[in-house]
Symmetry: C2
Subunit: 222 residues, 2 copies
């Protein structure tokens, strides 16, 4: 539950922590590779732990569930989002939703190390075809939204009984998930900047989604 993988705290961490971090990265890497080559369900934790040469007990000291290791890159980004939200300037001229958009864009750009984008692509596609992973992903997103709501209340002087900030966060999550979907369908190599572009496009579609109307096809059914 700690966020030591997001922002290195200046002085290099102790050897013990670096080892822990290496184990964590090896687990994520190997897990994403195995889950992608075969199926999430057909890869047992025993097999994964054998490959990384780690005991199952250690696995569960690093991740809370089999799903969590697959969604680590996604979760890391949401943790960075919370951190970003803590430092955004409060400006009455910029709507909450715009501030949230700024924060999510800034968060994904802080992840621009190594090939985080490749890992995020893997776990996004994995989530798209594995119910258990998708469920875990949505739950984690819900927890993050509640944490972000606390930050909004504390820093932006909002009424805790007002539904609107919470709805704004839900809409942010929806837009970001749509962006991920679009981005994961791109044929080229995944980059953070493409993801940013798709995120902006999803946000831009929000106002129209409230007023959009339909037209009956030629053969009107019912």
């Amino acid at each position: 539950m700690d966020i030591d993988s997001v922002s290195p705290p200046g002085p290099r961490p102790t050897l013990r922590e670096r080892k822990k971090q290496r184990t964590r990265e090896a687990l994520v890497d190997t897990a994403l590779r195995l889950f992608t080559q075969r199926d999430f369900d057909s890869v047992t934790l025993d097999e994964l732990c054998d490959r990384v040469e780690v005991s199952k007990r250690t696995f569960f000291r690093t991740f809370a569930s089999k799903e969590e290791v697959a969604m680590a890159p996604y979760e890391d980004m949401w943790k960075a989002f919370i951190a970003e939200l803590e430092t955004r300037p409060v400006d009455a001229k910029r709507s909450i939703l715009q501030v949230l958009q700024d924060a999510v864009l800034a968060a994904m750009r802080t992840m621009n190390t190594g090939d985080w984008a490749h890992r995020l692509l893997s776990c996004t596609r994995l989530a798209g075809r594995t119910p258990a992973i998708e469920a875990h992903c949505l739950y984690f997103c819900g927890v993050t939204v509640r944490a972000a709501l606390d930050v909004l209340h504390r820093r932006f002087g909002l009424d805790p009984h007002d539904l609107r900030p919470r709805l704004a966060l839900d809409i942010l999550a929806a837009a970001f998930h749509r962006a991920l979907e679009t981005w994961a369908d791109r044929p080229q190599d995944p980059t953070v900047e493409h993801l940013a572009t798709d995120t902006l496009a999803a946000f831009a579609a929000i106002p129209g989604s409230l007023t959009l109307t339909g037209v009956a096809p030629a053969n009107q059914g019912g």
Copy 2:
């Protein structure tokens, strides 16, 4: 995955199906009672099956998981929502979001039999304090949204690449979940009409959530 519990198809179903239905209702009732009295995790399926005098094998022929039996009332309503959406008139003067609101209100009113409201209250509160149930609930909602999107594309002549219908559905889901939260906090006895009121209130808050701005508290942090 069938929806035989939602709308009785005129002629009374066969005895075999009525028995199946009784078993299903007994399982839901007993499960909600046990999960509420104690904890979701501390009630084993063996215990639940003993109480209902049903084999564990039969349980898994009726529900796909331990979480599903707890969320049955919630899932039934979403199934009714899909059915409603199939029959809503197509009117270019009414926005998609308004149509969705109509459908969800109509769906909850079709559930107005027995004490569905009480069961929904139980499972809403359960979902609020049980991660595994909340995750399953969000996943099921996601599946429903995709099914609803198909209906929109087919009946309302929308472009499959347009993000707006999908965002409208995500916003609907968010508003309904906020309504459920508000409703589950009411001290009085739960009724469908109160839920409808809270749903309308949540929908009414949507436009404002896009434009809401914050103000820094006295001690501006950051």
